[in-house]
Each structure stands twice: as C-alpha cells, then as structure tokens.
C-alpha cells in the first residue's frame, strides 16, 4: 500500500491539480479504485465477500477505506470541480450512510453468529454492572432513569506503543427520550471523561466536535485509542480527533448507558467491540496530516469558519506544521467579519506554524489586527477565605490566613462588536470576573486593559427601598455617572417599558420581585453605554415581558461597543453571543465559539 503523502509527493504542483489527482487514486493492495460509482459498488461487493468468508477484519479495513475515499472524492468534487455541492455536513451524512448500509448488511446477512460469539467473548472481559442478555449479539438491559450500565475495557498494562478499542454500534436509540449513551475514558478506574456521545443526528467527539451521521438506524464504527502520547478517535475510519493525551493517562474506556425514562425500559444496543491492539485505519500518520491540511484548505477556501474552528480544535495535538501559504489562506478567509472565531483561529493557526515561521506571522500581524476593546491577560484573583478576620487579633500576632482563589489564568481579547457570554456553574467565578472589569474585585495577578469604562448592571444595583421607583431611577442613574437632566429625558420611556405607570411613585420596598426586576431591567437597558456587563439581567418579569425584554436587549446591545452577559440559559448565548467564556472553579475551560462552550458546559453538568 502506498500512502497518500507518498503519492502526493511527486504530484503537488498546484493545489487543485493535487486534489483532482486524488480522485483517481488507486490503492495497490485493495484491488480497487473509487473514482466512479461503479468502482465503489465493486469495492463494497469485495467487502461482502470478505464477510461471507468470515474475514471480518479485512471487511472492517475496507469499510474504512471506502469511507475515507468517498470523503476525499466528495471533497475534491467540492473544491476542484465546484459542482455546487451541498454542505460538508450533508456529505458526511451520505458517507456515513454508505458505510452504515454496508455494516448493516454485514450484520444481518453476513455471519451474525460470528458477530455474537465475538461479542460474547468480549463482554466476558468487561466489568458489567448488569449482565448482557446472552440471547443478543449486543447489549440488552433494563434501565430506569439515572441508572447506569457500563461495559468497561481496561487497556493492557505496560508501555504500549499503540492501544485501540473498536466499537461498531447500531444507533437505535435517540439520546433524548431514550438512554444517554456515551463512550468515556477511564482514568485509574475512577475519573471519567467523555470521548463520544451519541445524538439523534450526530456523534460528539471530545465533548465538542460534532460529526454528523445518518439519522436512521445505522451502524457507526468508532475507533478509540492512544498512540505516541496522543488521544485519537476515528469515526467510520476517518481521523476525527487528535489531541495531546490528557493527564493522567486513561487506563481504559467504558461504553456507558444511563437511563432517561422514569419507568424501566428494555434497551437493546447492537454492539460489536474489538480490542485490536492496533488501530485499524487506512490512514498513516502522514496521511492524517495530509488529510488535516486538505480539509483545512477546503474549509478556508469556503470560509466555513465554524467548521474550521472545530477542525483546528480537534486536531490540536497533531504535529502537522502548516506552510505559510496555507496559514495565509486560512487567515484570508472572511476572518475579520467573524468575531466569534477570529482570536481562536488566529492563535491556533500561528501555533501550527513551524517556529521559524511563527515569528514572521507575529510580525506580519503586528499593527494589522483590529484594536482590541478589551484585553485580559493571565488574570487571577485570590482573597482571604474570611476577609473580615483579616485584622483579627490572631492575625496581628502573626497568624496566617487561609486564602481562596476565585479566578485563575484567564486570558482573552474582545473586540468592538463582540457579545461575550460567560457561563459556568454557581461559584464558577462569573460575577467575580465581571467585578474585576469594574475594579470591584482586586486582581492578584495579570492585567485588564479596557478602552472605555465598563458599567456593571446587576439585579438590585443601587436600588433603595425607601425611595420611590422614580427616585430610584434617578439615584441609580446618578451612580452610573449620568446627570439628572439626562435621566429625566429617559424617565417616561423607562416607566412605560417597565409597565409600572401606576406604581412608579410608590416606595420601592412595596414592589413585588417581578416589578423590581422589570424596573431594574428597564433602567439598565435605557442608558446607552459603550461597554456593558450584564449579570443575570435577562430573567426579569413574566414570559410576555421577557419576550419584550429580549427585543429591547437586542437594540441595547446594538448601540454598545462590547457586551458581557452572564446567563444560565443557553438560548441567549447560542443565538446572540459571538464568543463565550466557560469558567469552572475560577479557571477558564474554554473561550471562543459559543456552541463549543455550551457543549462543554453541558458535559460538565
């Protein structure tokens, strides 16, 4: 077999010629080429022949080959021939369906008894919380809500150069009303980390890389393993995830089913697990790098920045230095128009350049990047666990105070036009971070540079119970730096929007919680500011008011230069934020694409 890279070595005169040449690529050992539909069919027939003779491994290898070549052919068609192909998502679905159809065929018409016996032998080595139904070739269990069943596979001990486990799963569950199904790394038998989650129309890798697959009842081939200090995942034979191995190193994987139904239901998951000790993929290391660059190129040309962003995230661990031309190509896509991905992509691309080119890239960028409206560099906040005891007698005679770290290692840039969502669990540091931006919380490390003074709007900010609603509008507005004349101009509009015309001259203390929230929201969103920090302001009032509030917030944000929003509902973050910061215990988990950030957050819940 020759590798793609070997093949490409002598042909790469220009990008398009190379891409076109791949479409006529023939694999010496596999006896077929796949540049026509007829040849594809021929390949598939040979797979069935393997199955008929019990050569399941060979069949699996060829399946991945078919899948890989089909994708490349599809990509080439998109880039080189430009026949108005549809989105990559739909093409990946097509590829998956091709594979899944054949896998189904293997399962049902091939040698089901062989499959069952292999499955049984594998299950016997797993630590199963519930016994698998012996009559099934896969997993057959009764699950209730929250109940968990694990099929665990421990990696062999010692220094293994390469360890892989392969799953052939028929996804006859939808992941919503049916059980939650995932494959996870296991660290030392305890800590777990999701590798793959199954969704109705996709699988999600590494918590945030979404690979679309056919939505019908089809098989997916997932290979999970570790090689050369990298965590690697192949989906349907194609490299999908190359990251530096997490620490501590995984000691195994589990296939994990958690019940979602209140009443017990019987779940049958056709599952075929093989612990080959080597990966089964058509791709060599060089092929993976080439594949990575090809897709990067394709996505750059098409300007699909969301996919480009996820592609870079998925292959962050791949040692595949970019050429300067490819780097420039990726940067020249409509990056400046996309606030969500600009920083992440620029940094990721620079990191993938060889050292000698990195300096050139940085100097090229110098002065050409748009000015940041906010620069956050390595921000940390550490305070005494009990500040009120800071000057206690014990402290005065030399006692030490316990300290707690509220924020640590936060760095990012935000630009004019950005709407940055901040998400995380309670106590993650969301409000504390907003406070650092208005100097209400002292930094213990790092710096924050702002072009303009931000204003923090929180429920109840500055409101006094003894003053009327009207007086509170005035007082809070004064605190925010406005003059009474400026506030009086906005007064009628604030009152009207808050729907408090009949109550505005009553003392604030007699307002209901909903009335208070409406007044605060109306005031906060009536005053134009350049840099806004909104802390849980969007939960004001009833549903009708919330709808009205959302529209007003859009107008409000449109007038601002930069907006930070702390919000627990994903709708706002996904629909309106250009970037998202995910915090966990004061540490940044992710900054960038709101979709990835919310996926990661859901995963941590």
């Amino acid at each position: 077999m020759i590798s793609l890279s070997e093949y490409a070595g002598g042909h790469r005169n220009d990008e398009f010629q190379f891409l076109e040449s791949i479409s006529t690529f023939e694999c010496e050992s596999a006896l077929f080429s796949v540049n026509t539909q007829e040849e594809m069919e021929k390949t598939l027939l040979s797979i069935l022949e393997d199955v008929a003779h019990g050569r399941l491994l060979d069949a699996a290898s060829k399946l991945t080959l078919v899948s890989g070549l089909a994708r490349i052919a599809s990509l080439v068609e998109r880039i080189g021939i430009l026949k108005g192909a549809e989105s990559i998502a739909s093409e990946l679905n097509v590829v998956s369906m091709i594979l899944a159809d054949r896998a189904n065929f293997i399962w049902s018409l091939g040698h089901p008894e062989d499959a069952r016996s292999v499955a049984r032998s594998r299950f016997s080595t797993f630590e199963s919380l519930k016994s698998a139904d012996e009559s099934s070739a896969g997993l057959s269990i009764n699950v209730t809500s929250g109940e968990r069943t694990q099929l665990r596979h421990d990696f062999p001990g010692g220094q293994q150069p390469s360890v892989f486990v392969h799953y052939l799963v028929r996804r006859n569950f939808d992941g919503v009303s049916e059980p939650f199904v995932a494959i996870r790394w296991v660290h030392d038998g305890a800590n777990e980390e999701v590798i793959v989650r199954f969704r109705p129309s996709s699988v999600v890798l590494g918590q945030c890389i979404e690979v679309p697959v056919a939505s019908d009842d089809t098989f997916i081939h997932i290979s999970i393993g570790r090689r050369g200090g990298k965590d690697i995942v192949f989906v349907n034979g194609l490299p999908a995830f190359f990251r530096d191995a997490t620490s501590p190193s995984p000691t195994g994987v589990t296939f994990d089913v958690i019940g979602a139904h209140a009443s017990p239901i019987k779940v049958e998951i056709p599952l075929f697990i093989v612990d080959y000790e080597q990966e089964v993929s058509f791709f060599t290391d060089e092929d993976v790098k080439l594949w990575f660059r090809l897709v990067l190129e394709a996505l750059s040309i098409e300007g699909q920045l969301d996919r480009l962003s996820r592609w870079l995230y998925a292959f962050a661990g791949l040692d595949a230095p970019l050429s300067y031309d490819l780097y420039r190509l990726a940067l020249s896509s409509n990056l400046n128009e996309s606030l969500a991905y600009r920083d992440f992509l620029t940094d990721s691309l620079i990191e993938m350049l060889p050292n000698e080119l990195r300096r050139q890239a940085l100097s090229d960028l110098d002065g050409k990047e748009p000015n940041a409206a906010l620069l956050v560099e390595d921000v940390a906040v550490t305070i005494a666990a009990n500040p009120s005891l800071h000057a206690s007698f014990g402290r005065l005679i030399g006692g030490r105070h316990q300290k707690i770290t509220l924020l640590d290692g936060i760095s990012f840039r935000a630009y004019a036009g950005d709407i940055v969502g901040i998400i995380g669990k309670n106590g993650a540091g969301k409000t504390t971070f907003l406070k650092t931006l208005v100097s209400a919380m002292p930094l213990s490390n790092g710096r924050i540079c702002v072009d303009g003074r931000p204003i923090l709007l929180r429920p109840g900010a500055g409101m006094q119970g003894d003053l009327t609603g009207r007086e509170n509008i005035l007082k809070t507005g004064l605190y925010m730096g406005f003059l009474p004349s400026e506030l009086n101009e906005l007064m009628d509009e604030i009152i009207e929007f808050s729907e408090l015309e009949g109550h505005i001259d009553r003392p604030f203390r007699y307002y209901s919680d909903g009335m208070r929230a409406r007044l605060i929201f109306s005031l906060a969103t009536a005053i134009p500011r350049d840099i806004l920090l909104l802390d849980e302001l969007l939960s004001a009032g009833d549903m009708g008011f919330q709808r009205k509030a959302m529209k007003r917030l859009d107008d409000f944000i449109a007038r601002a230069k930069l907006v930070f929003v702390v919000q627990h509902t994903f709708d706002f973050v996904l629909s309106r934020c250009t970037k998202c910061l995910l915090l966990d215990h004061g540490r940044p988990v992710y900054f960038g694409d709101p979709v990835i950030a919310t996926e990661l957050y859901k995963e941590s819940l």
């Binding site: 920083d343 940094d347 620079i350 990191e351 940085l362 960028l365 110098d366 002065g367 000015n371 940041a372 620069l375 305070i383 005494a384 500040p387 009120s388 800071h390 000057a391 760095s411 990012f412 840039r413 406070k435 650092t436 931006l437 208005v438 100097s439 209400a440 919380m441 002292p442 930094l443 213990s444 490390n445 790092g446 710096r447 924050i448 540079c449 702002v450 072009d451 303009g452 003074r453 931000p454 923090l456 929180r458 900010a461 500055g462 006094q464 003894d466 003053l467 007086e471 005035l474 007082k475 004064l478 605190y479 925010m480 730096g481 406005f482 003059l483 009474p484 003392p507 920090l533 900054f591």
Partner: protein, 286 residues
C-alpha cells in the same frame, strides 16, 4: 492564547496595584468634576429624602432638628445652669457646637466608611469617588443648614448681621479640610482595624472637652497651654467666635486657619491616594 505584542494604548488599565487611567486634558477633568458636583448634590437630595421617609413633617425636619437642638441648649444654659461669663453664653456655646457637630459626625463615622458605604459602592461598580463625595458633601450640606439656624438664633438673641459672618464660612471651610483629613486616615485605619470604630467615639468626646467650646483659651492653666495649642480646634473655635460674635477677624485668626487648611489639604491629597489604592483592595478586608 499566544502572548502577542500589542502596541495599543488603552484608556484604563487594571493591575494588582489598582487602576491606571490615561491622562485626560485639564478641560475634561474640569468638566468631569463639575458633573460629579451636580451628581453629588442630587444624591444628597435623595439621601435626605430617604432620611425623612415616612415622617409627617418631611424635609422640615432638616430645619427643625438643629433648631430644636439649639432651643434645648438655650434652655439648659440660660434657665437651668445659669452659667456666668462671656465665654459661657448660649451664643458662644451654640457657635462651638454647630461647628463641632459636623466634625464629630464625620470623624465618628469615618472608620466604618470603607467597610460599609465605600464597599457597597465599590462592589456595585460605582466607585469610591462618588461614595466619598456623597459621604462628605452630605455633612457639608447639613452644616450649611445648621449655620443658617445658628445665624437665625443669633439674630433673635440680638446680634446684628456683619461682614465678619462671612469669615465664619472661611473658618468652616478650613475646619472641613481638617475634618476630612482626619476622616480619610480614620477610614484607612478603620479598614485594617475595625476596633477603631469603637474607640473613636470616646476619643472625639474627650476631644470636645479639650477644645474651647465651653470655655475660652484663657481659662486653661498656663503650663497646659502649649499642649492645648496643639489642638487645631484651639484656632478654629476662637476664630469662629470672633467672627460671629465679636465682629472681628484678626490676621492671626486668618493665618492660623489658613495654615491648618493648607496642611490639611496636603494630608487629604496623600490620604486620598492611599485610600483609593486601599479601596481597590477592600474585598481583602471586608
């Protein structure tokens, strides 16, 4: 994120040492200061509104309170104690108490300023400036009301309006400089050691009796006069008495109060820098 260089200059940089603002023009600073004054005046108005919330007589209490206080002292000194001597008259006492009250109110509440009002304002992101402006300007306004009541009582008591009554305002301004200088440092100390808030009331009470409010400087024994002269109120209160009751304001009175105000302004400037820096780190202590 990669450590990329940025030649961009920002208007505000926040570091562990606090905020660094980009220098703005003098005209901008004047405009900002005038806005702050207008804001402070309206905040005082709203604060006073809160103070009289639910009271039938409402804002009238702002006048009634000092008037009732003055009437009570008048009754005690004139009809109950019947004290003799020019320096123990009701007018003499009322002048001293009107001046002293503002000093006592500010200094007594100063130790808890950063841990209560200051912290609340910082926590809401409103900043320390407006908190301190509100804290001091409210007392200044109340002094103005009390001063007006004082003048009314003096007129009733038979004193005639005189140009030197304006000098009484100069003395008040000097006293406020001194009071703010003391208050700022008490606020700073109070943040580190909250117990100061408990002590300062007793200290201020003692200070009052060591000041020439109830008696004149001449009644102090000669050996104690050098020590007594260290008390700034040994210059403030006699100057106020002289301007309001004696219709004269000597060069010595002017000079002593001017020097006091100048030194106080220096102490305020230094104290304000320290307090702003501490205000940034107030969550470490509160």
């Amino acid at each position: 994120m990669l450590p990329r260089s940025t030649g961009q200059s920002f208007s505000l940089v926040i570091t562990p040492n606090g905020e660094v603002l980009r220098q703005v023009s003098f005209a901008t600073r004047i405009a900002t200061a005038s806005r702050d004054v207008i804001r402070a005046l309206h905040l005082i108005r709203l604060d006073l509104r809160q103070q009289v919330y639910g009271l039938t007589l409402g804002h009238l209490w702002l006048l009634l309170e000092p008037a009732l206080m003055a009437a009570a002292y008048y009754f005690l000194l004139t009809f109950v104690f019947r004290m003799q001597g020019a320096d123990t008259t009701f007018a003499n006492f009322l002048v001293a108490i009107i001046y002293w009250r503002s000093h006592a109110m500010l200094t007594t509440s100063a130790p808890s300023f950063l841990s209560s009002k200051g912290y609340q304002y910082i926590d809401q992101g409103f900043g320390l400036n407006i908190a301190f402006l509100e804290f001091s300007a409210q007392e200044l306004f109340l002094f103005a009301v009390r001063y007006f009541i004082l003048l009314c009582f003096l007129l009733v008591a038979g004193y005639s309006p005189h140009m030197t009554w304006l000098a009484g305002l100069f003395v008040a301004a000097c006293m406020f400089c001194f009071t703010l200088a003391v208050s700022i440092w008490l606020a700073i100390l109070g943040m580190f050691l909250k117990d100061i808030g408990k002590l300062v009331g007793h200290f201020v009470w003692l200070w009052w009796y060591l000041s020439p409010g109830l008696y004149s400087f001449g009644r102090i024994p000669e050996w104690a006069q050098p020590i007594f002269a260290l008390n700034p109120f040994a210059y403030i209160l006699p100057a106020a008495h002289s301007a309001l009751l004696g219709y004269e304001f000597s060069y010595d009175h002017f000079l002593s109060n001017f020097v006091l105000a100048t030194i106080s302004l220096g102490v305020i400037a230094f104290g304000w820098r320290v307090m702003k820096r501490l205000g940034y780190s107030v969550p470490h202590y509160v």
